[in-house]
Structure formats: structure tokens, C-alpha cells
């Protein structure tokens, strides 16, 4: 059965086009993807991302446990800080990518992809053998609202939330409009913004309140369609497109999230460290199409007449008007920034230029 978030009826009442996504009936757009996209880049948007998974990990060995299953060094994660990481297998492939928040002593919040929650939970349970850890999936009890855009900070201040202390990639308990929640300065758009984790029963009130208070900042509800174009412009990976069980963090261009000096062992460390040192067979690249054609997931990439890889995500970038894409190619030195490759679109090759990622300047570094 398709699941509905607590805010489902709000989306329908707002006239959203609804689609099935990862087992959830979600709004893909309310008005227009391009218009919603621009609203987030220029002002403020609110997203219902309650389909995402929330898993609390606690117990005497919680830190040691998490440290064993991700490349990031969780022993170095400070209280109320967040870190982007991946659940790696022994061959370096990825079960999922996630954000881990330290919310107490031996107490963590893990936010993961809706499409992978079952695999994640299974993986966590399999890896906790012999450790004193409690894995508590609270996904069904919490709603997650994201407010994103340059005006997000104005909205939060207006709603009485003091931000002086809260930097990017931190999480704090907060009371907003009398509702207790966890406010995290994170997002999936490349803009500054907050993700608000709230118990289901307060989500409708909070959603309405944010839309009301955000009016003066030009707030709009934003669907999954614009969420995808926003994240792709920021070159943020989407699990299932750009990451899967065959891609390693190094191939995916996520070396920045793999510390070289981590002492503890973790799943896939040997493969990942070897790739860090000796390179990989393939690599993720950013592309801009040189004509009007759009590269889409699954299209083949060619270089000098040879098939060298595949597009994993592609769309029109509403901010730049260019057609952008991410894809994996053979790790050839010639396929570097500025090089021209071809994408096979409807049985014809179309030129594309290899460019640096992200495709826009990210503004979420605070």
C-alpha cells in the first residue's frame, strides 16, 4: 500500500500533482517545477520530506557501532553537529547515503533515504552483533519539514528562533510557536535552510504556520520535482541515480567525506583506502550539454567514438538555462574539465562539456 505523510491532505488541498515516490504518495509539483525552483533560489520554499527515514541510535556502544559502518570518523563528531556519510559494504559499494547527527552522549539521529529504509535497518541490525546498541526506527512518528532559500533565516528569526549559535550542519532542540522540535541547519538544495523534525501530530499546525509567517518572504510549497533540479544544480547525489550498491564513495567524488587518518576499521575500508591511493576505474563527472538536448538517467556517454560510461542524472537547470548532467565515465586522464564528450540521445551523439561540480555556486556555507 502506498503510504501518505501526515501532510498529504494539505498537498492535495493546495492543488499539488501527486506521484508515487519510494512507496509514498508525494507532491511532485504545486504550480510549476521551474517556478518552484526559482522561488527556492531567490526567496523561500517549504518542503514536506516526511517520507525520509529517521532512526535513533543509542546505547553504550553507539559511537563505536556507527564508526564501524561509515567511512566518516564518528568519534570526532561533536555534540549537536551533523555529518554527511555513507553506509558502505565490504566491497566499498553503498547501502545508502545519510546524515548522522549527534544529539547526546552515545545518542545519534540518522536520517536516511525513504527508498532505502528497509535495507538500512537490515544493515544496521546485521552490524550491531555483540554491541550494546539500540536501533529505534521512528520514521512513522516524525514529520520532516524543510525550509530552504536565502530567506529561510528571516523566517526562522521571525518565528522566534534564535540562530546566533547555529551554524551549517548543526542540530538543536528548539521551541517554535510552542512546538518542541529538532532544528537542523541542513538541506538538499544548495541554499541555506533548515530541516525541522517534529512529531506527526504537530506537523500540520507547523506547516500552516510556516506558510502564513513566510508569506512576507514570498514562501511557496515546493514539490519533489524542484527538489530534484535544485539538488542536481548543487551536484548533490541522489541514491538510486548517482549512488548504488556498485558505486564507492571515491568513484562518486565523495573523497571529501572519507577521512584518510581514521584509525578504526569500517566496512569496505580496505577497498576505499586502496582507491584513495591508487585511483578508481571510473569516476563521476559533471556535464553541460552543448546543444538543446537533455541528457537523462541511463543515456550512454562516448569519448573518441568509444562508449565510456553512463549518465546517472540530468535535467534542465532552471537557474542557468543550461542542460546539466552527472554521469560515470572510465577514469581516463583525457576526460577532464573542459573536455568534450558525447551523449547518445535518441540514437544520435550530442556534444557535452565536462565541467566542475557543482553547477551553481552553493550558498549554504555558514
Amino acid at each position: 500500500m502506498v503510504k501518505e505523510t501526515y501532510l498529504h491532505d494539505k498537498h492535495v488541498a493546495l492543488g499539488a500533482k501527486m506521484v508515487d515516490f519510494a512507496g509514498w504518495h508525494m507532491p511532485v509539483q504545486y504550480s510549476s517545477i521551474i517556478e518552484e525552483h526559482r522561488t527556492v533560489r531567490e526567496a523561500l520554499g517549504i518542503f514536506d520530506v516526511s517520507h525520509m527515514g529517521e532512526v535513533f541510535v543509542s546505547g553504550k556502544d553507539a559511537t563505536a557501532f556507527l564508526n564501524k559502518i561509515v567511512p566518516q570518523d564518528i568519534t570526532k563528531l561533536a555534540y549537536e553537529k551533523a555529518v554527511y556519510c555513507q553506509l558502505t559494504k565490504s566491497d566499498g559499494g553503498l547501502i545508502d547515503d545519510l546524515i548522522i547527527y549527534k544529539i547526546g552522549i552515545e545518542n545519534y539521529l540518522v536520517i536516511c533515504n525513504a527508498s532505502r529504509i528497509d535495507e538500512d535497518l537490515n544493515w544496521l541490525v546485521r552490524n550491531k552483533r555483540g554491541l550494546d546498541v539500540k536501533i529505534d526506527n521512528q520514521s512513522h512518528n516524525y514529520s520532516l519539514l524543510a525550509v530552504q532559500g536565502p530567506k529561510a533565516i528571516n523566517l526562522m528569526k521571525k518565528m522566534g528562533y534564535d540562530l546566533e549559535e547555529q551554524k551549517s550542519f548543526t542540530i538543536k532542540p528548539a521551541v517554535i510557536e510552542g512546538i518542541k522540535l529538532l532544528a537542523s541547519r541542513t538541506g538538499y538544495t544548495g541554499e541555506d535552510g533548515f530541516e525541522l523534525l517534529v512529531e506527526n501530530e504537530f506537523s500540520e499546525f507547523l506547516w500552516d504556520k510556516i506558510l502564513e509567517e513566510g508569506q512576507e518572504f514570498g514562501i511557496k510549497p515546493i514539490g519533489l520535482g524542484a527538489r530534484d533540479t535544485l539538488r542536481l544544480e548543487a551536484a548533490l547525489h541522489l541514491y538510486g541515480n548517482d549512488l548504488d550498491e556498485t558505486t564507492t564513495p571515491i568513484e562518486a567524488g565523495l573523497s571529501w567525506s572519507v577521512p584518510k587518518d581514521k584509525k578504526a576499521d569500517y566496512n569496505g575500508k580496505e577497498v576505499i583506502m586502496n582507491q584513495l591511493q591508487n585511483g578508481t576505474d571510473r569516476k563521476l563527472i559533471g556535464l553541460i550539454m552543448l546543444d538543446k538536448n537533455i541528457a537523462r538517467h541511463g543515456y550512454d556517454i562516448y569519448f573518441n567514438g568509444e562508449k565510456v560510461g553512463q549518465v546517472t542524472s540530468g535535467c534542465v537547470s532552471p537557474s542557468t538555462g543550461k542542460n546539466i548532467a552527472l554521469g560515470y565515465v572510465k577514469n581516463l586522464a583525457e576526460i577532464c574539465t573542459g573536455a568534450t564528450v558525447q551523449v547518445m540521445i535518441r540514437e544520435k551523439l550530442h556534444d557535452a562539456q565536462v565541467v566542475k561540480r557543482p553547477f551553481i555556486e552553493k550558498r549554504n556555507r555558514v
Binding site: V28, I33, I34, T229, I294, P318
Partner: protein, 126 residues
């Protein structure tokens, strides 16, 4: 106006309307609404021939790529090239200015058998 009263629609959401000796072909408002923001359109060359059901054009919205099929067979006599340069205009009007191609057809009487009036097409969608 009167466009919607005169046109026939296919179950793949193309419309066709007779205009003099030619037939005008485009996408229904339902199809355009479902696609969302249209960002790419590729139309065939004038003079090319297509059978009923063949792909004659490609269209992409922000979300996805789709094909457009011939509701009847025929030879292309005109192509709306202005729309190729500004595909987003299809979101505003898919009928008067948003037509895609014009064709000459000898097989209209045979090919029209499974096409629906706009009224019946809308009913089918409900």
C-alpha cells in the same frame, strides 16, 4: 474558437483538426498539463511521411522525455518551428498557437476509427 468541438483525440493525447485541405496535429491540454514545464521539442522535417502510430516528435518536460505519435498517417506540410525555439509557450496554449505539425492525409477515413471527440476523450480520462 470552436477548436475543441471540431477536433478528434487519440488515447496517446494527440489531437487532430481539419483545416482546409490539411490536418493540424498537436498535443491536448491534458497532455501538456501532465507534462508540466516543457523545455524541449523536436519536430520532423517538412515533406517527411509517417504512418499512423509512428513517433513523429519528441518532447521533454523538466521531469521526463516523451514521444509524440501520429494520430493518422500522412505527409508533413508545415512545422511549427517557432515552438521549437520556445517550447515553454506550449504550456500557455497548445491549440491556436501551440499546434505542432500540419499534414496531408489520404488515410484519414480509415485511420480515424479509434479517435475520440474531445468530449468523449475527456470522459475517458475521468
Amino acid at each position: 474558437m470552436g477548436f475543441k468541438d471540431e477536433m478528434l483525440c487519440s488515447n496517446t493525447h494527440e489531437y487532430i483538426v481539419k483545416q482546409g485541405e490539411e490536418y493540424v496535429i498537436g498535443l491536448t491540454d491534458y497532455a501538456v498539463d501532465q507534462l508540466g514545464d516543457i523545455v524541449f521539442l523536436e519536430l520532423p522535417e517538412e515533406g517527411s511521411e509517417f504512418k499512423k502510430g509512428e513517433t513523429f516528435a519528441n518532447i521533454e518536460s523538466v521531469k521526463a522525455a516523451s514521444e509524440i505519435y501520429m494520430p493518422i498517417g500522412g505527409t508533413i506540410t508545415a512545422v511549427n518551428n517557432e515552438l521549437v525555439d520556445t517550447p515553454e509557450k506550449l504550456n500557455e496554449d497548445c491549440y491556436e498557437n501551440g499546434w505542432l505539425i500540419k499534414i496531408k492525409s489520404d488515410s484519414f477515413d480509415i485511420d480515424k476509427s479509434d479517435l475520440l471527440t474531445y468530449e468523449n476523450y475527456k470522459k475517458e480520462l475521468e
